[in-house]
Subunit: 219 residues, 2 copies
DNA sequence: GTTGTTCTGCGTGAATCACTGAAAATCGTC
DNA sequence: GACGATTTTCAGTGATTCACGCAGAACAAC
């Protein structure tokens, strides 16, 4: 089948170097591109197409999902492998729905990474065991009605809520958010209320801080 | 001087592997430990002490600063090298104050990383150029009395206004602030209005961010 | 089909914002 | 002490947002 042409997307150059190093002694995988964002990558794909795009995400961002979707629609032949440093099933499922063909968590190692790449190249999907386990565990936990951990709370934020949170923490008024998302101001208020409740925050100052801490907005 | 004994702390195993791989062909650096958190590392240091601990942080968290402080006080001979994937001067400065002897950003590469480790081992501090530039820029701005630098803007605030701003950015409601300062709610509102005008801020989300950026409150 | 979640929206009263004005207290200065 | 500048204090008004609750519509899961 020949060499596997791979593109690497990760906002942190040193991490790209690290992954490149890990894949260095796997000669059948050839890293053609290495960019900060999917946006940077797309134009390069016209001249030098790849088989697989591996993207690393550090924080659950609806825009990332949109970018994956965009990439998949624009280059339908490429297989997208997502590595997420968070463990939110919601977002992972969204990535898959957006067109990602495989998923890895940060718990992974070189062998699993290579396995994932090879699996995708062979036309099959690949989901790390940790993910399937996570989903299983979550169902069990839901059944057991476990107490909310910090992570669980984060997981609970829906896509829409994250969008609202991001816009709000980016200094937009409710009216502006409503216009941008084509919903009513009351709905924006509802979302904000739900966010505060889910995250157990008291004021919107806390909401801003949460958004900053989780890299949803810049300081 | 012999081998450099290094410990690696990163919440994401795959990233630890990546860094380990990058350092593989630097025989004078020996990675003894590789843990998820500083907490996990500390007990290991009693049996197998290291020269340098390199920790990677992905998001600005006050607890991380506390952990670095704790590590530095508990093992005073180890040198802590922090790599942060964010670029907030405040937090980086806090890490340095907490006892970190060096700092890298995610823009770094293998060579700079090795250089940082060697520098620390030789007893010197190491700060990536991007960071020193940032710090320098800040000092220059202060010295040159540039048109409203952050600091100048801060200076413009009166004592009372600063008190109000701090309390507000610390998640207190206007009523709480009023009670604490023994003034009326309307006065609190006035102060906040004046602050926004003086600092040329549009929303109170901006006010919160200003307070965080200027270390008036913790994130 | 049932169940559950998300997204959407509304009502109400309280709190806060944005803007303006203004009196009393404080401070530096002559 | 007198004067001006600044700070601190407080209020009126209308718009916006908060806090809490409630509920239908859309959608996915089982």
């Amino acid at each position: 089948m020949g060499n596997i042409r791979l593109a690497l997307v990760d906002a942190h150059p040193i991490m790209r170097d690290g992954i490149r190093c890990l894949l260095a002694d796997t000669p059948e995988i050839e890293i053609l591109h290495s960019t900060n964002t999917i946006t940077d990558l797309i134009p390069l794909l016209y001249h030098d197409p790849v088989h697989i795009v591996m993207t690393v995400f550090y924080t659950p961002d609806p825009e990332d999902v949109a970018m994956v979707k965009h990439l998949c629609s624009k280059h339908q032949r490429v297989q997208v492998l997502v590595m997420s440093m968070y463990k939110m099933e919601n977002f992972i499922l969204k990535m898959i729905r957006a067109g990602a063909k495989g998923h890895l968590t940060s718990d992974t190692d070189r062998d699993e990474m290579v396995e994932a790449i090879l699996t995708l190249r062979n036309g099959y999907d690949f989901y790390a065991k940790t993910i399937t386990n996570l989903i299983l565990k979550n169902y069990l936990e839901e059944a057991e009605n476990k107490l909310e951990s910090k992570h669980e709370r984060e997981q609970k934020l829906s896509t829409r809520e994250l969008e609202v949170l991001k816009l709000f923490a980016d200094s937009h008024t409710n009216k502006e958010i409503a216009d941008k998302l084509f919903i009513s101001v009351r709905t924006v208020e509802s979302h904000k209320n739900n966010i505060m409740q889910k995250l157990n925050l008291k004021t919107m100052v806390d909401m801003v801080k949460f958004a900053i801490r989780n890299n949803l907005v810049d300081l």
